[in-house]
Amino acid sequence: MAEFFEFKNVSKRFGSIQAVDGVSLEIKRGEFFALLGPSGCGKTTMLRVAAGFETPDSGRVFLDGRDITDLSPNRRRVNTIFQSYALFPHLTVRDNIGFGLQIAKKPKAEIGREVEAMLSLIRLEDQADKKPDLLSGGQRQRVAVARALINKPDVLLLDEPLAALDLKLRQRMLIELDLIHDQVGITFLYVTHDQGEAMSLSDRIAVMNAGRIEQIGPPAEIYEAPRTSFVAAFIGDTNFLEGVVADHPEPEYSRLRIDGLPDVMVYNDKQIADGNKVFLSVRPEKIQISRDRPESKTKRNAVPAVVEDVIYLGPTTKYWVRAGNHRLQILRQHARFFLDEKPIRWKDDVWVFWHGDDGFMLERFRRDDEKLVAAPPQKVGDE
């Protein structure tokens, strides 16, 4: 299938800041695509380039095979939902929604019909003659959605549309946005720094950092198989381990020599040769913890450790353990009844273990990204 919405090598610089640095993206027709990244990563600039508010310094943007890079915002079949909603305060809800059609000089009867249809889609028929000031945050958001969708754009751009809402409302609007996407079948480009929103809504996610794309893929792939230390650390939480490939006991599995730990088996999808340094990401919830030594298996990595901290989080409990000179975080359900039904406590000697497939070799590792990972609690004046 031909790509529908495409960025080719787009760069944009503001003064001394390279906001977007040679980004290429291909979005399919009807896809719900998320740009995910921390603030300042360039995702909003990408959206503004897509909308036509910024012209890239280099690179092109294509929509349905047509180069739209130099088209002004009003000539693009692209509409935006702004973070602040940017509703027209001097117009009623009805006139806000009908604005695009009025500008396009559509017949009055048609505008009326379309606006009514939109009002019923967002279930605000009874608020139609109010000014936006009198609406709640969620209602304003829905008006912004309707105002954009009424123009039947090829692509709907959403700039952190839920950021201004409180948690419960955000969860409701998430479902609502998903339903609307299913209903209208328009391509959505969703910009957010919230991994939860990106994970639950999107077909695919592009993780951005410092103006570049770190990884593109479906949510599960991004989470389960992060390719860079940034993706591993920014989405969810993780443990980083640094080691050297010792040998390949099986063609697809490498044995890693990690300073201060027993050798560790890891799935070697990158085919890294013996003697090379690699970095491993192991998600906290993939690691088991037990007071007894687990049964030894070829692809099971078992490491003796000492519990340094136990943090009860409600649905889960986080354990910080020290294994050799490494500190690992482990996330488990059932703090109290686990295997031997005796709760694991501070200073207990334990075994932590994980399957070789659950440790993931990173293509790129940056020391800075370690700061994104949860840090163990600092002990004051202990030992």
């Binding site: 702004f82 602040s84 500008i103």
Partner: protein, 262 residues
């Protein structure tokens, strides 16, 4: 503790000092007496006389015509100036622009009057209505620009982007969104420009030519020929006009402030 009466006394004295002469003038304009002072009964006769004075009518027409024209021109120039000042606030050019806009507010009027007169003479422009309009526009722009700039500070320009995004051309976005949203501010600025133009004496005095007399200048020349009660009546009318515009302009500013506060 007993509160000091002093602030009340000072406030009262200031109010009396400012407004008592005006009040006397207004009351006297209804005095039937020829020479003021003693009250000889209530009368509209000076107003009636005023309406039969052709020179006054000409001056009033000139004043109104000039003020309307000045308001129109300075609204356009002042608003575009404010937009530039706001949009490119950080650039060196606009900081210079801001200084230029601010200058007429602090330069003594007499200096502006003389320099404008010299400029017109040097350029060979015949003094008349045109020179008065030009002179008034030079200082009215500043007031309009500063009032509109104040409104723009808390204007969310994402709204203009939203209009563009929804298909509006840049002109359409200005006409359908920017101007309606700025309307109260523009009206307030326009009324200020109008009032300033109607009331200005010093600058007008320098740049007015023969046949282009405005009301303030008329009043001045009538005083030179002796203070007739006609001046009281004329001043009262001018006063009423000024107060009305100031009042309306304040009401508009207030409604803007209230909307902004929501």
């Amino acid at each position: 503790m007993k509160r000091s009466r002093f602030p009340y006394i000072v406030t009262g004295a200031v109010l009396v000092f400012f407004y008592l002469p005006i009040l006397i003038l207004v009351v006297d304009s209804f005095n039937a007496s020829r020479f003021g002072g003693a009250w000889r009964g209530f009368s509209f006769k000076w107003y009636v006389r005023l309406f039969h004075e052709p020179a006054i009518w000409t001056a009033a027409r000139n004043t109104l015509f000039i003020a309307l024209f000045v308001t129109f021109v300075s609204l356009i120039l002042g608003t575009t100036s404010a937009l530039a000042l706001h949009r490119f606030a950080k650039t060196r050019l606009q900081r210079f622009h801001y200084t230029l806009i601010y200058t007429p507010l602090v330069v003594p009027e007499i200096l502006m009057g003389i320099s404008l007169l010299m400029a017109f003479v040097a350029a060979g422009v015949r003094l008349g209505m045109l020179t008065i309009v030009l002179a008034h526009v030079t200082f009215c722009i500043s007031y309009v620009a500063l009032v509109v700039l104040g409104r723009l500070q808390d204007f969310d320009f994402t709204i203009i982007e939203a209009a563009r995004d929804l298909g509006a051309s840049s002109w359409m976005a200005t006409r359908r969104v920017l101007i309606p949203m700025l309307a109260p501010g523009l009206a307030a600025a326009g009324l200020i420009a109008f009032t300033l133009s109607v009331d200005d004496f010093v600058i007008t005095f320098f740049v007015a030519g023969p046949g282009a007399t405005t009301l303030p200048i008329r009043v001045y020349s009538m005083i030179k020929h002796g203070a007739t009660p006609l001046i009281n009546a004329l001043s009262t009318l001018l006063l009423a006009l000024t107060f009305t515009t100031v009042f309306v302009s304040q009401r508009l500013s207030k409604s803007v402030a209230l909307e902004g506060g929501q």
